[in-house]
Structure formats: C-alpha cells, structure tokens
Amino acid sequence: MASDKAGMAPPTEAPRPPLDPWRIAIYAVLFAGVLIAIGPFLWMISASFMTLSEVNLTRLLPENLLWENYATALRRANFLDIEVVTHPETGVLQSLGVSGYIWNSVRITFITVTGSLLVCIPAAYAFARMNFIGRNFIFALFLSTMMIPGIVMLIPHLLTVIWLGRLSESLFGPAGAWFNNWPALTIPFFASVFNIFLLRQFFIQIPEDLWEAARIDGAGHPRFLISVVLPLSKAPIMTIVTLGFIGSWNALMWPLLVTINDEWRPIAVGLSNFVTADTPGDLNLQMAASVITVIPILALYFVAQKQFTEGISQTGIKS
C-alpha cells in the first residue's frame, strides 16, 4: 500500500548541498506555506487574549494578555461546568457534578472508541485468521458499504435510531432512549468497516507459527486473540483510537440531527451554537472558545503524529 510510505521520509538525507538561489526559493515557498497553514491558528490564539476592540481592529498582538477571556468563554459557551459540593464543616467531597460540551464530547468519544474496538477487533480477527463459510462474500459485502455516500444513509439512520430508541425505551425506561442520548451519538459508529479493514490487514501479517505454537499449548482463538494478537497490534489500535477521536470530536452533522438539548451535545455543535447565538458579538470570546476546542486535537496530534498521518493517508476521512 502506498500509504505505508507516508510516514517514511524520502531516502535523500545525503550530505547537504550548499545554499544556492534555487534552494532559498524552495525554503521561501515552504515557509510561506507554513504561514498560510498556521497563520489563522496563531492569530486565533493571539486574538483570544485581546479585548474586543483590539479584535475588531484586527490587531496582530494583544496589548495585555486577557486570561479571563478563557474563563468567560468556558462559562458563556457552556463548555465545562464543574460543581463541587463539599461538606460545610469537614470539607469532605460530597458530590461532583460535571457537565458542559467538553464533558459530553469526552464521554461520547470514549464510548465510541471503546465500542468500536470491542466490535471491530473480533470481526477483523475472524476475517484475518479464521476459515468459515462465506468469509469472502461477507467481507466484500462489508467493504461495499464504504462506497455509499453518507447523505444517502442519513435519513434511514435517523429513522432506525428513532425506532430502536422507542424499543429500548420500552425496555429500559427513559434512560434507554436513543434519540438525544448517547446511543444515537455512538452506536452507529461502532462497526466501522474501515477499522475492520485496517486491523485485518495487520492481523494477516502475524506469523502462522505463533498460532501453531499457541494451539499446541491448548489455546483457542479467543485466547490467542487476547494474549498474542492484541499485544502485537498496538500500532493499528493507536491509529484507530486517534482517528476515532478526531471523528467524534469534529462531528457536526449527525449530532445536529439527533440532539435537541445540551445534555449530550458534543463540542462542535456547542461551539457552532455559541458562535451563531453570539453573532456578531464577542469575537475575542469566540476565539478563546475555538482555541479550547482545537487544543485537545492538536495535543493528540503532536503526541501521535505518525498514527495521524498514516491513518488519514489510508482513509481520507474528515467529518
């Protein structure tokens, strides 16, 4: 696969030729590209510390760093609200209430990624290392669903979610609702064909000898999967986790359809609501809110950069 090479530097780390005009021109273009690519982010950060009038005049740098913009934005945009109740005399923690869009997104992301791993790993293992009737046919059927544009699926997904929600509501009471609750936001994304495909490609490469050895030791498939295959597959699992994280963190269209209040709305919807409700209001606060939204993604990106680039070169997903 071409994408395997994405993380690999081209093989030209030979002795560096001296700087000639051509080389200077290359650097000039590349640095101009850097400026265009991250200029908006730099200004976003800078503007998040400004006063409103400074933003309106589009100053490049703030005169004073207004850290309180962040506190105000967190509160006004309903991003995060932590309610700590301690006992009035002893000071012992009694209850801890966390709410807000960030908390929602964290919960949604966690459920989606965990569920996706639980569903996709066994399926990928079955396709990669087991023989069963109809394997190739089922695999082809799964893959074919990747070609269908999302907009066609939108309405059936919505109807299915509404119906399943009613069923589970009658089973588990109001807590079992799907609509405007976590199941609608997470369960449809558990079985990702792409994840299955990625893991399968990796599982196939695990040497057959390991399986023979495990079988002689009396291990069956589930045992082999848990104690041999999984520890070897940290890299693809990391890729899935990072991609799942961006997917849920950036999701906008589907959450807009299936949520009606803030109880489970993720951060992208929250930011979008804050901006539309605020137009053309406090741009400095909007910038602070944007920075808060972007930071987790960027942090993860800097930590797991290789997984990001490789994973995305292989999928081209962006939600």
């Binding site: 071409a2 994408s3 090479k5 994405a6 081209p10 030729p17 290359i26 650097y27 273009v29 590349l30 590209g33 265009i36 908006p40 982010f41 200004w43 976003m44 933003v55 309106n56 589009t58 569903v119 996709c120 066994p122 079955a126 023989n131 069963f132 059927l141 799964f142 669903t145 269908i148 544009p149 907009i151 066609v152 699926m153 939108l154 309405i155 059936p156 919505l158 109807l159 299915t160 119906w163 009613r166 009658s170 089973l171 558990f190 079985a191 064909v193 498939h221 963190w249 950036n250 906008l252 269209m253 930011l271 944007s290 920075v291 972007v294 993604i297 960027l298 680039t309 995305i312 962006k318």
Partner: protein, 542 residues
C-alpha cells in the same frame, strides 16, 4: 477422526460467526439496510412517520420529467446487470455438464425468487413497524405494549399475505436445496446455484424497476391529460436518450479518429463525430424542457456544487503537488513542514471557520479588505455578498460564475485540504524509484523534463485517486458550507447536500430528501464511472 475434524470445523465456524455477529448486525443496520430503506422512503410521502405510497412523485418533484427518464435508464442498467450475470452463469454451465446442472440451476432460480419474496415481505412490514412509536406515543410506554404492537404488525393483512408467500418460497428453497445436497452434490453446483440466484434476482429487480417506471409514467401522463395538459414524457425520453447515445458514439468516433493512421481518415472520422455530436446536442435540447418542472433549488444546488468542485479541486491538487514536490527535494525540517501543513486538515471546521469569518468580514478593517485597500480596490462584502464574481467585475451575464461568498468558502475549503493532498502526494513520490531519476540525470534531462516525463506519469495513480476522492468529497461537502453561509446570501451557496440537509432538518420532508439524496448518489456513481473510464485509461501503473 472424521468426527473430531468435523467437530473442530463446526466449532471454528461458530466461533467466527460469534466474532462477527456484533459487527455484522451493526453493519447491516447502519450500512446495508439503509440503502434499500432510503430508496423505499423515497417512494413515499414521509414526514417523520410513513405516509402514503406515492411512487415516483418525489423524483418528479425533484427533477421534473427527467425523473422518469432517469428511472427508465436505471431500469435499463439493471437489465444490463442481469444480462451480465446471466452470461457468467452461461459460461459456468458451458464449462460443466449442462444436463447435470439443470437441477441446481432451477434451485438457484427458486433461491433468487425466495430472496425477493423475503424482501417484499420485509418492506411491507417496515412501514407498519415504523408507525409503532407514533401509536404508543402518549401512552404509558411499556415493553408489553410495544411487543403487542410489534406482534400485531406481523398480522396486518398485506404483511400477512406477503409473509405466507415468503414462507412458501423458503419451504420450496429448503426442499430444493435438500434435493441438491442429496442427489447432485458436485463442486460446480454451488456456483451454479449462487449465480442462478443472482441472475434471477437481478432480472426480477430490473423487471420491477421497468414496470414501476412505465406505470408511473403512464399515470402521470393520464393525470396531466385529465387536467387538459399534455405531458410529453415519452417523446422527451426518446429525444434525450437518443441525444445521449449520439454524443456517446461521437465520443467513440473521436477516439478512433485520434488513433487513425492517415490524415484523410482522421478528417473523415472527426467530421462524422462532429456531426453526430451536433445532432446529439440538438436532440438533447429537449432536456431543459424535461427539467421545466424540476425543483429550482435543487438544480441550483447542483450548479453550485459543480462550480464549487471546479473551483477547489484543480487548485488544491496543483498546490498540494507543488508543496509535495518541494518537500521531496533534499531539504531540512521536512517532517516539520509536513506536520504543519497537515494541521488545517485535522482541526474541526467549526473552529477554523470563525477565523475565516473575521478575515473575510464585510467591515473596512477586515484583513481581506485591508489588503484590497493596499491595491486600491473598494472593500467587498465577502461572505455577505450574493452577487456573482462576474457581475462584480462587470462581466456579461453568461460569465457570472459563483457568488463572492461561495468563493470565500472555496478558499477556505482549499486551505483545509491542501495539506492532506500534499501528504498523499509525498507518499506517492516516495514510491517512485530513485534509479529512474538517476538515469534521467545522466542522460542530461533538465529538472522540468524530469518532472514532466518521469514524475508526472509515475504519479498518475496518486493523482487519479486524489482527484476522485476530492470530487466525490465536494459533491458531499456539507460542513464547511453550512458553517460559513450567512442569511444574506440565501441559497446562493447551498450545494445539493446542504439543500438536502435543510429539507430534512427544517422541513422534515424525509421522502423528498431521500429521493434527492438518491439522485445525488446516482450522479456520484455516474461520475465515478466516467472518471474511471476517461482518466483510468491515461493512468500509468508503471
């Protein structure tokens, strides 16, 4: 020995299915079933809950008479698919003994028919089931009530009749399969059964589509006649189809002309092709008439989508390739550059769009307007501007082009995707063997010639892949537009997907939105096929 081996095989099969079960159920529910379901919804009046069956009326609303024409072509395509499967089947039969395979063939036909009966039953059941939430609304929802309603829906007359037919089909299939297993167990029988089943199913589906189209068309014509008008669907169908056929054959003739040896032959073929193309174009002049009753917002959505694709894809691919090529030179900080270029792609649209809103604000102090001021141009209204770029530049109407607001969205979208394109191009460049460059350099080729004659051809698979992904992406583009659009520009920036989403979320027209989504789907498929044929031929796979 045999017993334990069998036991182990059975166990392995069961374990595998258990491993697959969760993913299988979810993919069926959220991957496979939705396509059939969306088509089903599009044939109904459906707002949140199912309403009456209205045939192709949603498609007529979307595309006017062209909707019927589209379905006619779809039916023909289904027939073509059926013929293809049948030919494969015939090939299998020829390779084996036909007499011996006659029974499995019959079994295959029964299987195919039974599958369709099951589908029929299922889609009669679905609307009844879909109504349950509405029926139990307001009552004290309990599992018993829900299950009672669920049970009742199987007993409703239509569903019951279809269910009996399905059971009959299943019983026949079981008997037939047992017969094959008992008497005709050969290697090729399984293949014959599968192919026979597929051929039957495809043929029946094609017949169903064709009947649906013809019935609906006749109904529409009759309805129009009753109200004293005439609805020339059939003549339009003939004209438009003939036009398409003529233009397609003109294209084929041109292709032959290009390959022709003598100049005379080339001139002759080119002239013939031109004549055919003109004829086809004249015939296709009927198409606008067929579109007369179409939904103008949808047509505009398609037009906006085309402009959006035309304005972003070439630009982002060119710049991406340029950056990747520069990054591929022996330079320092390569991984730093690559990391930075990728940042716009991974960050949420919602966050970055806010900065672009400020850059392209209508105010005098907005960065974009300040830059215009440096060059001495009047400040523009950018994302609030609904006038087209052409009219702002004082060009005639037919050069109007996209609204200025759409241009801002294009710039934003290009900015987002360049890094992604550059990273993929870089991977593609890394796959080209260094020896080729070495050889070219020894032969004294200049930098540009190396790029033109080695890099570009060997990179063509990557270019092909990226352009396909990018074009399909623009046809599905939603978030970047939905976020940057303002009330002031109205529908001038709404692509087809944004319009579909609006119909869904604001108007709750599920049936209509489904039909439009299907039209978009058909268009994307068509484009993919077209691109595969035209560009795929030029791709050089080393």
């Amino acid at each position: 020995m045999l017993n334990t081996r069998r036991g182990r095989l059975l166990k392995e099969n069961l374990t595998a299915y258990a491993f697959l079960a969760p993913a299988g159920v979810l993919i069926f529910l959220f991957g496979l079933f939705p396509v059939a379901f969306a088509f089903f919804v599009s044939l109904h009046r459906w707002r949140r809950f199912p309403d009456s069956y209205i045939g192709l009326a949603n498609y007529e609303k979307a595309l006017g008479n062209l909707g019927y024409i589209l379905f006619f072509w779809l039916a023909l395509l289904a027939f073509a698919a059926a013929v293809r499967v049948s030919r494969q089947l015939a090939k299998t039969l020829r390779q084996s003994d036909f007499k011996l395979e006659a029974v499995p063939l019959l079994v295959g036909v029964i299987c195919g028919y039974a599958t369709l009966l099951a589908l029929d039953w299922f889609f009669k059941l679905v609307p009844v089931i879909m109504l349950i939430p509405r029926q139990v609304r307001g009552q004290n929802v309990s599992l018993d009530l829900f299950m009672e309603k669920f049970g009742e829906s199987f007993a409703s007359p239509d569903v019951y009749a279809a269910g009996q037919m399905m059971l009959l089909g299943f019983a026949l299939t079981a008997v037939a399969l047992a017969l094959v297993v008992w008497r005709f167990r050969t290697v090729s029988s399984a293949e014959v059964i599968v192919r026979g089943g597929m051929a039957t199913a495809a043929l029946l589906a094609a017949v169903f589509l064709l009947r649906l189209t013809i019935d609906e068309t006749n109904l529409a014509i009759a309805a129009a006649r009753e109200s004293g008008e005439s609805l020339p669907i059939w003549s339009q169908l003939v004209f438009v189809s003939a036009g398409i056929v003529l233009v397609a054959s003109a294209w084929l003739i041109f292709q032959r002309g290009i390959r022709a040896q003598s100049n005379r032959r080339f001139a002759l073929l080119a002239f013939g092709g031109l004549a055919l193309a003109v004829g086809g174009y004249l015939l296709m002049a009927e198409a606008p008439a067929a579109l007369a009753a179409a939904d103008d917002d949808l047509l505009q959505g398609f037009w906006v989508t085309v402009m959006y694709a035309g304005g972003t894809v070439p630009v982002q691919l060119t710049i991406g390739l340029l950056l990747a090529y520069l990054l591929f030179q022996p330079i320092r900080f390569r991984s730093f550059f690559r990391m930075v270029y990728f940042i716009p792609y991974i960050t949420p649209f919602v966050a970055t769009s806010i900065v672009f809103r400020i850059i392209f604000d209508a105010g005098k102090t907005a960065p974009a307007n300040r830059m215009l001021a440096i060059v001495g141009i009047e400040p523009q209204r950018w994302i609030l501007e609904r006038s087209s770029i052409g009219s702002l530049l004082g060009l005639p109407d037919f050069l109007a082009g996209p609204a200025l607001a759409l241009i801002v969205i294009m710039i934003y979208s290009t900015w987002t995707y360049i890094g992604y394109d550059a990273v993929i191009f870089l991977a593609g460049l890394g796959n080209i063997s260094g020896e080729l460059y070495e050889a070219a350099r020894i032969d004294g080729a200049s930098g540009w010639r190396i790029f033109r004659h080695i890099t570009l051809p060997l990179l063509s698979p990557t270019i092909f892949f990226l352009s396909l992904v990018a074009i399909i992406g623009t046809f599905q583009a939603f978030t970047q537009i939905w976020i940057l659009r303002t009330g002031a520009v109205g529908s001038k920036v709404n692509t087809a997907s944004v319009y579909i989403f609006d119909e869904l979320q604001n108007s709750n027209r599920y049936g209509y939105a489904s039909s439009m989504a299907f039209v978009l789907f058909a268009l994307i498929l068509l484009m993919t096929l077209f691109q595969n044929r035209i560009m795929g031929r030029r791709v050089f796979y080393g």
